[in-house]
Homo-oligomer: 357 residues x 2
Amino acid sequence: MSDPAEVKAFLNRGRMLADGIPWPDLERAESAASDPETDWFDFWMARADRYAALGERTLGESHRTSAGELLWLASLTAHYAQYMWFHDRERREFGQRRKVDLFDRAASHLRPPGERIEIPFEGATIPGYLRLPAGGDGPVPCCVLIGGLEGTKEESHRFEDLCLERGLASFSFDGPGQGEMFFEVKLRPDFERYSSAVLDELESRPEIDSGRIGVLGRSLGGHYAPKSAACDDRFAACCAWGACFDLSDLDSMPARTRAGFLYATGIEDTAAARHPLLDSLDLAPVAERATCPILVVHGRHDVIFSLEQVDKFRRSMVNAELEVQVERDGDHRCHNMGHVVRPRMADWLADRLGGRP
Amino acid sequence: MSDPAEVKAFLNRGRMLADGIPWPDLERAESAASDPETDWFDFWMARADRYAALGERTLGESHRTSAGELLWLASLTAHYAQYMWFHDRERREFGQRRKVDLFDRAASHLRPPGERIEIPFEGATIPGYLRLPAGGDGPVPCCVLIGGLEGTKEESHRFEDLCLERGLASFSFDGPGQGEMFFEVKLRPDFERYSSAVLDELESRPEIDSGRIGVLGRSLGGHYAPKSAACDDRFAACCAWGACFDLSDLDSMPARTRAGFLYATGIEDTAAARHPLLDSLDLAPVAERATCPILVVHGRHDVIFSLEQVDKFRRSMVNAELEVQVERDGDHRCHNMGHVVRPRMADWLADRLGGRP
């Protein structure tokens, strides 16, 4: 890992720490950067192996709470090994699968546990995890969590905890182009149909109050979630964790983000990926259909999605009860102030969906 | 804050992050270090004010979970403003009192809530907070948490959470020379008598199973806790989070730690503070009386307490069921690997005291 610029691009401290990566590992990663023998991927996969071994040993000692946390940490660590490793498909896919396996190993030991649900849809399988708040009586409200370009369901764990503490169930899933679903379905212009399939499944669950299901999307999920809410009025509330109205900012995005878009589409030619696929990621045709309460949270210093994205929400979401919070000091997805912004989004959702006060 | 060495001494990242200080604030503190107009104390007190205001606003919106967290964060931030501010007694005491007030404001909104208990003892008051695990049926086991030289009950919050998740109640208190008790009673050679007074109080509580009360002490608490357990056989288990058998390392400690010892004694003359007071902080006279299970966790790279401290535990605690874990990569109190070591100590305590598996 000899290129400091490379390390700087990968080492997204705010995001990684807020998602649960321990600080000592970030320090070690920075130190390891000066070692040309160790690259980013190897470094984090070795950490994943270490946490996995520790988790298994801890499980063997019947310390389930610690074991669940360690195995989840192993999964998150593998996630960040591969998260922007777009140039090396083989290793990225290995990291992706390892992450999925480790999360599955952790799931039943998490508090509250995660139940893996596989939803068959048009010949593919939508994978997700349902977690129910402790002590819930009768059907509970639920928040569906959608990841971003390289963000996946395993990364949502800490945000799930915020939902659960507030009396909301959580369901995090991978849609087209994301995480393990990428192996079956690449990025498509109709993510919202997969969200609706998730809704169908959740409505069939007696634990969930089907009248109180919301959706939150992070980063590119800040496009998918409002599109899902606009196209399916069963969603009772929606939070865009970062505004992504369309991809008009694509050309000014960091190179690695652009590479990520190509990767997720599975199309190697930029122009071909762009037209018609990426160009069709646009809320304009459906914006007026959105009628539920929508919260948009955006950082003024977001280098991926500009403030113009926020303005487009304001101009176009004319039938929704729209609330916009632009954080003056916030970066992309306000990861640099996650400890303030994340609980606030969870509170907003709990207010709309009727969680615990 | 113009002296980089000063900032480096204060900016204990591992400890502060593991205790709950958000990473973005640490980054800001480091940036602020180049501004000669802003000192460490002012920087963190301003953060405390900000979190307090945000917490009050959040409480006004009936978001109690977030408000409790923010008000506690305000308290923790004020704690770290003053924690090593020994050279400026007036401001340190102001910070100390502000921290106490903010924690008290947070306590009833924490999940689970903290109940303030004031234990009258020999004309003074021992202040502490009791938290009970959710869903406990009948009397529950309890872990008494003791801070260190400049560590206080408010700093124990995250460790309390680890206990509570494992089915243990927690009781964190300030003893002689610590936190708010410092105003009434300075550092004394008989901390263990205050621990026993705490035990008397906990035994009177129907929520607590008096046969299953353990004690953990951190840093200098790694002296107080085993001394408490040695002198009062009602403690059913003991964890020394860092070995401090005696103060034979005093002369080689960092200058600011030595200043902290003087501060806590309230005696300004080094020689007078040392003899007989600090010299009497020695487990040797009571070590053989300890019979309960004792865990000692120590970092090989601890620059305050040497490995000789661990050896003394091994040689002298001959009647206890002693377990020693020396972490090869650990620093002082293994703060640089808190995410692994802290849950493990909580598991050990839960095993001995009969928490939830």
